[in-house]
């Protein structure tokens, strides 16, 4: 890795860390410079301005939390029949429901939320969503060919719908103790299975 690239990713790491603890507004270029022991202008060498830095930090943060998802292409190579496929889809959703994954789920809402008021960020996040969900949609098409999934479902719409379950879970978790999350999960799986099964 080039030295320049290393500095760039350290700057992004520092910005993400600030967002994690106190939100976007807490990002200060001067603080990052001091923390990394570099001069402020070298931050502007990598990012045109603070807004550009914030945007790239959001995108990087979002991408990292999607990366931990089970890659669907791999899943398709491992499954041999309908039950195995449906269970793999469940697992890819449950995977993100794990307790220690809460931060990753919350990041999605944070970044999607920020994108609602920032058209440029929305475009970047959209590209990431497309790229990620296109692989889920591809697996869905393949599963339809094999008659594992209902043939009348639109693969991309279905991929977005299944993924949307994860966002709803975050809101239920915000009110921990108030909502029975196990029950929520059981219902969620049941519905996903009913939607997909031919």
């Amino acid at each position: 890795m080039a030295i320049g690239e290393d500095t760039r990713s350290r700057i992004l790491d520092a910005a993400i860390e600030m967002m994690e603890s106190s939100g976007e507004a807490s990002i200060r270029v001067a603080t990052i410079a001091a923390k990394l022991d570099i001069a402020e202008p070298s931050i502007y060498h990598h990012f045109t301005n603070r807004a550009a830095l914030v945007e790239e930090a959001y995108a990087e943060w979002y991408w990292r939390c999607l990366e931990i998802q089970v890659p669907m292409a791999t899943v398709m190579a491992l499954v041999d029949n309908r039950e195995e496929y449906l269970s793999a889809i469940f697992k890819s959703v449950t995977w993100s429901y794990q307790k220690d994954r809460h931060a990753a789920r919350a990041v999605r809402i944070t970044v999607l939320g920020a994108a609602q008021r920032n058209p440029q960020l929305a475009k970047t996040i959209n590209d990431i969503n497309r790229q990620f969900l296109a692989s889920v949609a591809d697996s869905m098409k393949e599963a339809q060919k094999r008659k594992w999934v209902r043939s009348d479902l639109d693969p991309m719409a279905t991929a977005y719908w299944v993924h949307g379950q994860i966002l709803g879970r975050v809101v239920a978790e915000m009110d921990e103790g108030f909502v029975d999350l196990e029950h929520w999960d059981a219902l969620s799986y049941e519905v996903i299975s009913t939607i997909l099964r031919p």
């Binding site: 976007e24 991309m156 977005y160 719908w161 709803g168 809101v171 029950h183 929520w184 219902l187 939607i195």
Partner: protein, 184 residues
């Protein structure tokens, strides 16, 4: 709040708000420390109203339902209102406020209170319908209220990408899911 709705957040000038409610500018600052705090409060209030706007017709519709079929029709009707094109902006506000809540304990607490208030109301309607055998017994009313709200957030993500996602098809999937969820 109506200033934000008409002209966007950037246009929100404290002086204008003071004028529109007929008070002097310093009185606005008596309630809100600064412009940021005012914007934040306005978004939270918009979040609350956006829920109540849909919860009230749902309560009314359910109260008027005579049988399971009526109730199903009401659910379908409310869902189509919730997903309507006119409400795209308010759906986006929900996501935006929830996003801000993830890194601000203060906003998170305000949101928790609103969620509790509105989802309890929805859960009450579900519980009543359950007593009448209009929705399935296994469903916990409160979990159902949260789950259905989650559908709306999924819709926001899908409609960010209108070119690639067929939203009518997405709606069909969601409608089938909600229907199965409640009625089996």
């Amino acid at each position: 709040m109506s200033v934000i709705e008409d002209t966007g957040e950037g246009a929100l000038r404290v002086q204008k708000i003071a004028e529109s409610v007929g008070v002097r500018e310093p009185s606005v600052y008596h309630f809100f420390k600064n412009r940021e705090e005012l914007v934040e409060a306005a978004h939270i209030e918009r979040y609350r109203r956006s829920h109540l706007e849909m919860v009230r017709p749902f309560q009314a519709g359910a109260a008027l339902a005579d049988n399971a079929e009526d109730f199903r029709r009401i659910v379908k009707k409310i869902l189509s209102l919730v997903y309507s094109a006119e409400r795209e902006d308010i759906r986006s506000t929900r996501m935006s406020v929830l996003g801000a809540a993830q890194t601000s304990p203060k906003i998170a607490e305000a949101i928790r209170q609103i969620n509790f208030e509105v989802f309890s109301k929805v859960a009450e309607v579900f519980a009543t319908a359950q007593e009448k055998n209009w929705i399935r017994k296994e469903v916990d009313p409160l979990a159902a209220a949260y789950w259905i709200n989650g559908q709306i957030l999924g819709r926001v993500m899908a409609e960010m990408d209108k070119e690639r996602v067929d939203l009518d098809k997405w709606n069909q999937i969601s409608e089938t899911a909600v229907s199965y969820f409640l009625f089996g």
